[in-house]
Amino acid sequence: MNLDRGVALCILVFSMVYAWLALGYELLPFERHQAFKPNTMPIGLSIMGIALSLAVLLVPSRKDSSVVDESVVDISAHESGNQQFDRVRPVILVLLMIIYAMVLRPLGFIGSTSLFLIVSSMVLGERKFHVLVPVALGGAIFIWYLVQEVLGIFLNPWPMWLG
């Protein structure tokens, strides 16, 4: 099964779970007799989701299909024509983002941001620490100043245990 059908299968499963949750939604007594209930549109959407994902699964895909996307150019391997793909580093960067979310409050903004920038750059191959560390630290402090002092959005710079 190719990737687009795999995605359609995932969306089919999602739509079925969504339908189950929509049908099981507990209506309040006064809602039961309304023409338009809280689960009316979700039920309609789940039917459409199931029908469309089945259609994508069952209709043969075109080889010459093209994507017109207003965001960046498609990231398909075939279009770039380059066979040297890095599959490991994107996964590591995603893990680092999750870790950043977990330590943001415990370590404080400046500490967690500096660490994230330093470790991410190291993962991407940067080894000039005399440049990397000042850039990461300086960038974190500058962004903290911009957000908290200029825009007035609170961002605790220090670890939680420092108060």
């Binding site: 338009f36 895909s61 996307d69 207003e70 380059n82 793909f85 979310a101 940067e126």
Partner: protein
């Protein structure tokens, strides 16, 4: 109209709003030059800043400036390094990059700037003329008509998704609508589909969704495919001689005139946009050019560069027409702008012109100012801004990821948003690899709440679904929506039958 223009001029020419135009255009150009970030990602990153400004006029002026600044910045990387990070500037690289390779990078950038300025300016004039007309017609709309209009807009966007992509685009639209039902709705106060997670009581925060869907996959794509967006040549060349001759100006003038109008009209159509306008503009000018000019296309023709540049800027302006007059986004980018307006408690739609004329008119006037800033300020700064293209990726990518995360975090001050954003980013990356278009998803998400509200009101008032055929306007719009869907599906089926 003249009263409105007066309001717009006085608001747009205030020092604060002028500053927002300049900052927006500079930031948009600055970040738009970096391959890997499209205007949607850039605007998504700027939205938390715009929302914190508090003033909807200033916020929309800032974001609009970022939008066309990003288009211009994307043209710059398209011309200098043949790395069009913005789909709407791909056509600019066909002739812009060959011009840069033969040492005419300065001239190419000047042609791009002038063409963009003219396209955007003529687009702004057409917007001033058409928008009030459309807004006054739209005041006749009621809930059933709004619902039908949104269905029409969503199906048009799916229909324009590309050959063989209609089903996937529709699926993404429905998926976006499903995500919009999470949390509380305006009609029913009880939360739905939160699975007990308190942070989802108000639904998904749209900045989180947008960052996760657009900015993260782009950054990860730069790591996955190291050749993507790499400088091939031109980034290191000295950019000088930012002049064009009178003869060259005479050659491109008719091109600019035609593509300004055509690009604007294409931009008005939901689902079409800068990308389609730029490709159509390029193809049209090549087909109507005299033979000796036609042979130059693809090898460094200034007409070949002027056409898509004019069309894409005019289309960007045109895409604001449905947003400002009907509250319907015509593209992924204007969908994000619509989300920003809602977050600022501005009710987009035909009443915007009546209830918030200062927002409506100042955005339109600021487009003209923004185009002027692009021409006057950016062009001399291009040789210096171009040095950004030399930022090593080892620093660029972590900072892009960091900006997306901080953008999602500061909106709600809640680390849960980061987890949601990373999850959405991974999902969006998989969707991109599988060739699923993402703009229908975000448009479905943003319109989902309004669609449900209008549908609910229409059903309750009619006590059933009779409203679908009772009102001629509703029925007409739904028939147009059906045509939008059926024509590409039929064409697809026919071409498969012929091939098979």
């Amino acid at each position: 109209m003249f009263d409105g223009l007066g309001i717009g001029l006085s608001a747009a020419f205030s020092f604060y709003n002028l500053l927002m135009v300049v900052i927006g255009v500079l930031i948009g150009t600055f970040i738009g030059m970096l391959p890997g970030l499209g205007p949607m990602s850039i605007i998504a990153i700027m939205i938390p800043v715009a929302i914190k400004l508090g003033d909807p006029t200033a916020a929309l002026i800032l974001l609009a400036g970022v939008y066309y600044g990003a288009i211009f910045g994307g043209s710059t990387s398209s011309i200098l390094i043949n790395a069009p990070g913005v789909a709407g500037t791909v056509a600019s690289s066909f002739d812009g990059y060959p011009m840069a390779r033969r040492g005419e990078a300065g001239k190419a950038l000047t042609v791009a700037a002038i063409a963009s300025f003219c396209g955007g300016t003529i687009g702004a004039i057409l917007l001033i003329l058409f928008a009030p007309l459309l807004a006054s017609v739209a005041l006749l709309f009621q809930s059933p008509d709004y619902f039908a209009l949104m269905v029409c807009g969503l199906t048009a966007i799916a229909a324009f998704a590309g050959k063989g992509q209609v089903l996937k685009a529709l699926l993404m639209t429905v998926f976006g609508l499903m995500l919009a039902t999470v949390g509380e709705s305006a009609l029913h106060n009880a939360p739905r589909f939160t699975l007990g997670v308190m942070d989802l009581q108000s639904g998904f925060y749209f900045v989180t969704l947008v960052m996760g869907l657009f900015a993260i996959p782009e950054a990860l794509a730069l790591v996955y495919d190291p050749s993507r967006g790499k400088a091939k040549s031109g980034a290191n060349q000295k950019i000088e001689n930012l002049r064009i001759t009178r003869q060259e100006a005479r050659r491109i003038s008719p091109v600019i005139g035609r593509q300004s109008i055509i690009g604007f009209l294409i931009g008005v159509m939901p689902g079409a946009g800068a990308t389609i306008a730029s490709f159509l503009g390029y193809a049209m000018e090549r087909n109507i050019a005299p033979k000796k000019d036609r042979d130059e296309f693809g090898k460094g023709s200034i007409k070949g560069l002027a056409a898509p540049e004019t069309a894409n800027n005019a289309a960007c302006t045109g895409s604001f027409v449905p947003l400002l007059t009907l509250g319907i986004p015509g593209s992924g980018t204007t969908a994000i702008l619509l989300g920003a307006l809602i977050a600022l408690n501005v009710d987009p739609g035909p009443r915007l012109m009546v209830e918030r004329p200062e927002v409506f008119w100042s955005v339109i006037v600021s487009m003209y100012i923004g185009n002027l800033v692009l021409l006057v300020l950016n062009l001399p700064l291009i040789p210096y801004i171009a040095k950004l293209l030399q930022i090593p990726r080892n620093y660029l990518i972590p900072f892009i990821l960091f900006f997306t995360m901080i953008g999602a975090y500061i909106g709600q001050n809640n680390p849960t948003e980061l987890f949601i954003m990373v999850g959405l980013g991974v999902m969006a990356t998989a969707l991109r690899f599988a060739h699923y278009p993402l703009p229908p998803l975000i448009i479905g998400f943003i319109l989902g709440g309004m669609m449900e509200d209008n549908l609910g009101r229409a059903v309750r008032k009619a006590n059933g679904m009779d409203f679908l055929w009772d009102r001629p306007l509703t029925a007409g719009l739904l028939m147009v929506a059906a045509l939008f869907l059926l024509v590409p599906i039929y064409n697809d089926w026919r071409s498969r039958s012929i091939k098979g």
